[in-house]
């Protein structure tokens, strides 16, 4: 056995995993980097909210009701004298948790259904596709409202409502990906070595869908955040004194004349977050696309 045929080409001496390459590509996109920074900032703010927020969430400063920006209350106060900035900071927790928890539920259901439909095809696919269609044909927000009525209000139930409703887009994409992937020869190779169906799905198909899943999550989180905002706006989401951006925007309606910025600031927070996740998702999709490797 000649040593020469064992040598790798010179330029692969450095470490090169697929995700490493993707990260390098992502780094080049300035907008993506900004969005990523924003998301990280958001996470930090949410995690360290009690430390960062100038006032506790439900602290009422009765001396300044519905006041505009001041040195004590940078973004003003609401109708109970609670500091808007602090409530926005605490509200970020709700938004992020909705994103994470609701999406996790959606992904678990969606990946399972999609993978089974895509891998087995035939009757299994037919049944699951019909289920997907039924769920997807409901206007999602309406569906979420119905679930909330059934389960009762409260933030935990919001997670379930949104997750349970949002899995269809995940399922559809995973289904078509799995259908494509299963014709790869490494799947045949796994079967030829004695691999069972479940093992093949778990070891080969789902990991190869990972980049798709990451992109979907990133793109769906803004939608989930908006649903939560809508539900809370309608009074079905978080309950006082807990704050969420949607809840604040709802309450602010009544006081638009007295303190217009009361609704604007949470609105800005919402818009920026949704935008950041959307743009990041776009950039991730490009970065994770192996066809763009090296160019």
């Amino acid at each position: 056995m000649s040593k020469k045929s064992q040598a790798l080409p010179v330029d692969t001496v450095k470490f090169s995993s697929f995700y490493h390459d993707a990260f390098l590509r992502l780094r080049k996109d300035k907008v993506a980097v900004c969005c990523l920074a924003f998301v990280i900032l958001l996470i930090i703010v949410a995690v360290f909210a009690p430390i960062i927020a100038p006032y506790p969430e439900s602290y009422q400063d009765t001396s300044s009701i519905l006041s505009g920006s001041s040195s004590e209350h940078l973004l003003g106060t609401d109708e109970y004298g609670r500091d808007i900035l602090s409530r926005i900071i605490y509200g970020s927790r709700v938004s992020l948790m909705v994103g994470v928890v609701a999406e996790s539920i959606a992904v678990v259901i969606g990946v399972t259904m999609g993978a089974l439909a895509g891998y087995y095809g035939g009757k299994v696919d037919m049944v699951i596709s019909r289920i997907i269609e039924v769920f997807a044909s409901f206007p999602q927000i309406l569906f979420a409202i119905v679930i909330m009525f059934v389960l009762g209000t409260g933030i935990i139930n919001v997670f379930f409502a949104i997750g349970f409703v949002g899995w269809t887009s995940v399922a559809r994409v995973i289904r078509s990906q799995v259908m494509q992937l299963k014709s790869n020869e490494y799947v045949e190779a796994a079967r030829a070595s004695g691999g069972g169906n479940l093992a093949i799905i778990m070891r080969h198909l789902i990991p190869n869908c990972l980049s798709t899943i990451i992109v979907i999550i990133t793109m769906e989180i803004p939608a989930d955040i908006m649903y939560e905002a809508s539900l809370s706006f309608l009074g079905l989401g978080v309950q006082p004194p807990q704050s969420s951006w949607g809840e604040m925007i709802n309450k602010a309606r009544t006081y638009l004349r007295a303190n217009p910025t009361y609704s604007i600031y949470p609105g800005i927070a919402l818009v920026l977050t949704v935008l950041a996740f959307n743009l990041l998702g776009d950039a991730l999709r490009d970065a994770l696309d192996p066809k763009l490797k090296n160019l």
């Binding site: 020469k4 045929s5 080409p9 010179v10 330029d11 090296n294």
Partner: protein, 332 residues
């Protein structure tokens, strides 16, 4: 001695990528005379496809760029031509057929309309005239019942048929130069024989010069007059097919010929070329082939050999040659 149709001089094409500059073609020179068939042989990474894409000015820019050289067609350098001028040349004066007929043909248009498109754009024919010519071309390339099949779609034809349609599209405007980029690699061997025979017949009928790109030495031998052997973006050897295959000069050419299993070349273990084609962004110093060359000498590791011209027209880029006794002179 007929005149030169295509004269490529010192062509260099580089690709600027994240991982560095890829020297796809480096200082390549060759020519094709009127009525001649030149075969360009090389493996993956040799730069053969980049060569023809450069000649056609079809290099994606960015990241590719033709950094220097001249491409002289009929006495005129086409490198400085504008995009508009090139569009007029492509399909009309220079035509190309590709490896994968399914992806080269548009699946949503009939094969007739794809032939007619070229005729109407380049020769200004009316629809009626173009259709007539299209049917004629389909007949010429050996498609049975052309009047019927002219309205069929690519997916209704077999691989061999589709390749014939591609040839029809390429030849319908009677180009001076036909470039074939691995035209039979995706085809079965009996269909390949049909296509090669067709190309041979048609090039005589239409008096077209052919540039045939392939990795298959047998195909080159059957179709070409002369052959250019490429490796890692550079020319390694040039000569008539008979000269090069019967008496190869460059160790790479020789090793390539030896490593192909044939019924005659029947031994226990095949001759092997050790190692791999180098990555284009990290080329070895000295002669590009030296890490894999059986006859590597000290000078090969240190210095790049120049192209050495023999008096009989053969060329080789190797330190084994280049002495006055060989009866030739070397490049500057």
């Amino acid at each position: 001695m007929s005149e030169k149709l295509l004269d490529v001089k010192n062509l260099s094409t580089y690709f600027y990528t994240n991982e560095g500059i890829v020297y796809a073609l480096d200082d390549l020179s060759f020519s094709v005379k009127k009525g001649e068939t030149l075969g360009i042989v090389g493996e993956s990474g040799s730069g053969k496809s980049v060569t023809v894409l450069s000649v056609m000015r079809l290099i994606q820019s960015p990241p590719g760029k033709i950094v220097s050289g001249q491409i002289i067609m009929n006495g005129e350098d086409i490198l400085p031509k504008s995009k508009k001028e090139m569009k007029a040349i492509r399909g009309d004066k220079i035509a190309m057929i590709f490896q994968e007929p399914m992806t080269a043909l548009n699946p949503v248009f009939t094969i007739g309309s794809q032939i007619m498109e070229s005729l109407r754009i380049h020769q200004g024919m009316s629809k009626k005239q173009a259709r007539k010519k299209a049917i004629e071309m389909l007949g010429k390339v050996g498609i049975p019942l052309p009047e019927k099949r002219v309205d069929e779609y690519p997916h209704q034809l077999s691989g061999g048929m589709r390749q014939r349609v591609m040839i029809a599209i390429a030849l319908c405007c009677n180009p001076e130069l036909l470039i074939c980029d691995e035209p039979t690699t995706a085809l079965d061997v009996t269909i390949q024989a049909q296509i090669l025979e067709l190309i041979n017949d048609l090039k005589k009928e239409f008096n077209t010069s052919v540039l045939m790109i392939t990795h298959d030495l047998g195909v080159v031998a059957q179709v070409s007059d002369n052959v250019l052997v490429m490796y890692a973006g550079k020319e390694m050897e040039y000569g008539s097919v008979r000269q090069v295959f019967q008496k190869p000069l460059h160790p790479y050419t020789r090793a390539l010929i030896d490593s192909i299993p044939t019924v005659e070349n029947d031994r226990e273990l095949l001759h092997v070329i050790e190692g791999m084609v180098p990555s284009m962004s990290k080329l070895p110093g000295g002669c590009l082939f030296h890490p894999r060359c059986e006859r590597c000498m000290e000078i090969c590791k240190a210095q790049k050999p120049e192209l050495y011209h023999f008096k009989d027209g053969r060329r080789v880029r190797c330190w084994l040659y280049g002495k006055e006794e060989d009866g030739g002179d070397s490049d500057e």
